[in-house]
């Protein structure tokens, strides 16, 4: 075969495309933000959820535990570690129970106690109230608690700081020993020193989170030598950032490990089939070109490529390995490959188009990650098919001796004849599968967003244990307030605090946190300032209240001075809380909504121990405050999953519908469409039923089924063509070999993913490996052995 001008143009176009793609890929950013595989949330409450997952204080928390040594050793190690971590710029806050971690907070509360204390009002400094406070002070001085209050008493006889500190530490912290948090381990009678660290990096900034973890490791390594006996101590870390970093590492490791394994196995299979090592790289040529095009397309379309899109997309377009297989196995030895192309191209083109219909559904997914995968596979498949059509015949002009797989197996017609006999039993099995699925209606799908959690169960348990032990926030119930500006948001939460009081009294919830605790609204601050008496008045009233009490004269001069100063002090703003733990807390509870999400301010009030969510929801609805919403984040997240699953189902149905329309338009025969669609439907039903017997189905199974349709449609199309066109046994044997080999490669490639511990890989791997194999059997059974059929029709 001569190389024509058209071939030259094709090669030139291909090389040019490869060059352009390489340039684009070189400029593309690669992201590893796991939340790309979290949905872009449609509703506002869900947006808060996603924001909290991505960036909230909760997402920046690292829980650290030290265990495996004597309690006293653990305590000393905790102190040594915390001291080092407090000096690390990567961490904004480190708490381990020591006062050092709270010094800045206490200082802020102490200096601003008259603006912060909820007790400050006009009556608070009246003679009777002062007298009552002084008598209480006298009692405390005679008690064991004297050392706690004695130093501050001359400044604060009304005890504002006690109120503020109690409110701050009211939520029971972990037990303390030797000055640090030390909790018993859940198992044996061991102990665990607990630390809580907050990263400066946002939760979604995985590099920042990984750096913070490395800092903790280093700090511990440098602290160990200072504490005798600390070598035995083990470090445990947990938290959203930790999970994300680990998931990313596991994902990277597994994706590369498993895809390498799969590639190796597929290469081995192809080598066995072709017996021609030089064909091997050529078989991968369409895939490689497709992957490159896919990355470039996603880079252009989204601005960045997710690491998982890359690792996973290559597996998805693994289907393109089949293209080369179809070409090579269907070309007789020594025959021109170009001559094979017209024979298989229409079928293959239709196969590619049906796959694209299937994958196009993913393009509209709310998960950025899946949308990327959709674009990647579409671009990849188009390019891979084009490379097979126009490039491979030029590069491999003549067919090589490819032993048909039939050599290893019974003759194909016999096998197909046998498969045909399975048609009725298979139809029965498909009906049975439909019954199984129908019987599980309502229990078919996983309902919890947590089911998509890439974190292994053991680590989730550890996280819960540490969270409970350290009293770290585990926000589930929230009131959310929308406001035009910060001040409005704060005044609104102050009003809500009053509304919540009766619900706390009747036990609907135990308590709440509010941004106004750390930064009262300016109106409230002004009101408190106005309630502070003038110096002369306060002095006279205090003297009056002191009459007959044994306090020495002028003991409370600091109190008079502090109140006088508080009357004139500048109102508190956010800057006053900088570099305190309270400031971090405030940042998580009061923030500006980004302009694309509608702008404005959001204040959150986390609710503690909500005993009766239904009653609370009712009460909140009865307030008739349109700017206030009650969120149960668990409920929201589960609803989000259901919403998303419905979306995925619709997209899948839409994709399936598009495939049927495409087939109808192309094949122009109801019988032929049925021949292609029926085995696909049967295979999907049986696969779904099999999977559902193993546990509830996840969204990943759903996407897997979409892939089964995309890949399996090729088998059906080839078998359907076989039925119509192939008349001699050698040619039909080659077609069957090609399809069987293609399926073996798919089963091996995805079967390898099925062993992964990561839900997304496991879910899709299992589904595709099982589904495509079942699809092969169904499509073969739907195709009567060509000999008799040909004879009958001929």
């Amino acid at each position: 075969m001569r190389v024509t001008a058209r071939d030259v143009r094709a090669i030139a176009l291909w090389l040019g495309g490869v060059a352009v793609a390489i340039v684009v890929v070189g400029r593309t950013e690669f992201s590893t933000d796991m939340s790309a595989f979290l949905p872009r949330a449609p509703a506002q409450g869900q947006q808060i959820l996603v924001d909290q997952l991505r960036n909230g204080v909760v997402s920046r928390l690292i829980l650290v535990a030290l265990e495996g040594a004597e309690p006293a050793t653990l305590a000393r190690l905790s102190k040594a570690l915390a001291a080092r971590l407090r000096a690390a710029p990567e961490l904004a806050f480190v708490g381990n129970g020591e006062d050092a971690g709270l010094a800045a907070d206490r200082d802020f509360l102490w200096r601003n106690r008259y603006l912060l204390s909820p007790a400050v009002d006009a009556a608070h400094f009246s003679v009777p109230e002062l007298r009552r406070a002084l008598e209480r002070d006298l009692g405390l001085l005679g008690s064991s608690a004297a050392p706690l209050i004695k130093q501050g008493l001359p400044h604060d006889p009304t005890g504002e700081i006690l109120v503020l500190i109690e409110r701050l530490t009211g939520e029971a912290g972990p037990p303390t020993r030797d000055g640090v948090w030390l909790a018993p381990t859940p198992e044996a009678d061991g102990s665990r020193a607990l630390l809580v660290a907050q990263t400066r990096a946002a939760g979604f900034d995985l590099d920042g989170q990984a750096l913070a973890l490395a800092v903790i490791d280093q700090a511990l390594a440098s602290a160990r030598p200072d504490v005798p006996g600390a070598d035995a101590a083990r470090l445990l870390t947990s938290g959203p950032g930790v999970f994300a970093v680990r998931a990313r590492a596991a994902m990277k490791a597994e994706v590369s490990r498993l895809s390498m394994l799969a590639t190796g196995l597929v290469a081995g299979l192809l080598l066995l089939a072709y017996r021609a090592p030089r064909l091997l790289p050529l078989a991968f040529l369409p895939v490689a070109s497709g992957a490159l095009a896919g990355v470039a397309a996603v880079g252009l379309g989204f601005g960045y490529v997710h690491g998982i899109t890359l690792g996973f997309g290559v597996t998805l377009i693994g289907e393109a390995v089949d293209y080369a297989i179809y070409l090579f196995t269907q070309t007789a030895p020594g025959a021109a490959t170009a001559a094979t192309v017209p024979r298989i191209w229409p079928t293959l083109r239709l196969g590619v188009l049906t796959s694209i219909c299937g994958f196009a559904a993913m393009l509209f997914s709310s998960f950025t990650g899946f949308a990327q995968l959709g674009l990647f596979t579409i671009a990849g498949l188009v390019v891979a098919a084009a490379v097979m059509r126009w490039i491979l015949p030029v590069v491999v002009p003549r067919g090589v001796a490819v032993p048909p797989l039939g050599r290893l197996m019974p003759s194909w017609p016999a096998l197909l004849g046998g498969a045909a006999r399975l048609r009725v039993p298979l139809a029965a099995v498909a009906l049975l599968a439909l019954g199984v699925l129908a019987a599980q209606h309502g229990r078919l799908w996983q309902e919890e967003l947590a089911s998509l959690n890439p974190v292994p169960i053991a680590e989730q348990r550890l996280d819960q244990a540490l969270r409970r032990a350290s009293g770290a926030p585990d926000v589930r119930h929230l009131l959310m307030v929308d406001a035009t500006d910060q001040e409005t948001a704060l005044t609104h939460t102050e009003r809500l605090a009053a509304r919540l009081a009766p619900l706390i009294a009747d036990g609907t919830l135990a308590g709440f946190d509010a941004p106004a605790r750390y930064l009262p609204s300016r109106a409230t601050q002004r009101a408190r300032q106005a309630a502070l008496p003038e110096p002369a008045v306060l002095r006279a009233d205090l003297d009056h209240a002191l009459a007959g009490l044994p306090f020495r004269a002028a003991v409370f001069a600091p109190f008079l001075a502090d109140v006088a100063a508080a009357r004139l002090q500048a109102l508190l703003g956010r800057d006053d809380l900088r570099d305190t733990g309270l400031g971090l807390r405030l940042d998580s509870l009061l923030f500006e909504r980004p302009a694309p999400q509608g702008g404005g301010w959001v204040a959150l009030m986390p609710l503690r121990e909500v005993a009766d969510p239904a009653r609370l929801a009712q009460a909140v609805a009865a307030w008739r405050e349109p700017d206030v919403s009650y969120l149960d984040l668990k409920h929201e997240s589960d609803r989000l999953l259901a919403l998303y699953r419905d979306e995925a189902l619709w997209l899948a149905l839409l994709g399936a519908g598009a495939i049927v329309v495409l087939l109808a338009v192309t094949l122009r025969s109801r019988r032929r469409v049925w021949a292609v669609v029926a085995p696909l439907v049967g295979a999907v039903l049986v696969t779904a039923a099999l999977l559902s017997l193993g546990g509830r189905l996840s969204i990943f199974n759903l996407f897997g089924l979409l892939l089964v349709v995309a890949v399996g449609s090729n088998y059906c199309l080839f078998f359907e063509r076989l039925e119509r066109l192939e008349r001699d046994d050698t040619a039909s044997g080659r077609t069957v070999s090609a399809v069987v080999l293609a399926n073996l490669c798919t089963v091996v490639g995805f079967g390898v993913l099925a062993v992964s511990s990561i839900p997304v890989l496991h879910g899709i791997g299992t589904t595709v490996a099982i589904g495509t194999f079942i699809c092969l059997i169904f499509s073969a059974s739907w195709t009567p052995s060509p000999g008799p059929r040909a004879a009958r029709e001929g």
Partner: protein
């Protein structure tokens, strides 16, 4: 030469042994005496002289000790309060309209150090005492005085010294001198067993 060397060795040994024999009663013996007591009860009167008050605060109540680490101080007047120490856990309960607080002894050295001075003596737990203080002992078994000086600079800011007097394995007075000039005297009257 050999006999003379022997005499020298014997003489040195005797010189070394003789003072030890004379000091038969010391910290070790005092502690051993307290260790033998497994539980005790007492009444107390406490007077606190505070700089900010023109007259001392007087309180009375009971003390109960159970080996090895339980101590309960119940104040009856002027304001009821129960202070219980069990291991590392301290509970202060001032009744309905007072403070109710539970915390770890080790987390509050300002209270912990004071409590450990009494409990450490009652338990005969020298390491516990020496964790916070250097010990000085005067007198004899029939009438002794233990002086505790804080080791930790932070603790020195609060307490300058604690002076405990007693006889055999019972405490008579505990006088705490605070660094700010405040002073507290605890007079202990042991109940008959």
């Amino acid at each position: 030469m050999a006999p003379r060397l022997w005499i020298l060795i014997v003489a040195l040994a005797a010189a070394g042994v003789a003072p030890a024999a004379a000091e038969a009663w010391g910290v070790a013996q005092l502690m051993a005496g307290f260790q033998a007591v497994k539980s005790s009860r007492a009444h107390f009167v406490e007077r606190r002289h505070l700089a900010m008050l023109s007259e001392p605060l007087r309180s009375t109540g009971t003390l109960a000790y159970t080996a090895p680490d339980k101590l309960e101080k119940v104040t009856l007047s002027p304001r009821p309060e129960r202070l219980a120490i069990d291991g590392d856990r301290v509970t202060i309960d001032q009744g309905p309209d007072g403070i109710r607080n539970s915390f770890a002894l080790s987390a509050r050295p300002e209270i912990g150090a004071f409590i450990e001075s009494i409990r450490g003596m009652l338990a005969g737990d020298r390491p516990a005492l020496e964790r916070y203080y250097t010990l000085g002992l005067e007198g004899a078994a029939a009438s002794w005085t233990v002086r505790l000086e804080p080791k930790d600079p932070a603790l020195k800011q609060l307490v300058s010294s604690i002076r405990i007097t007693g006889a055999a394995a019972s405490i008579h007075t505990v006088e705490t001198q605070e660094s700010g000039g405040d002073r507290a005297e605890l007079i202990v009257m042991e109940d008959p067993p």
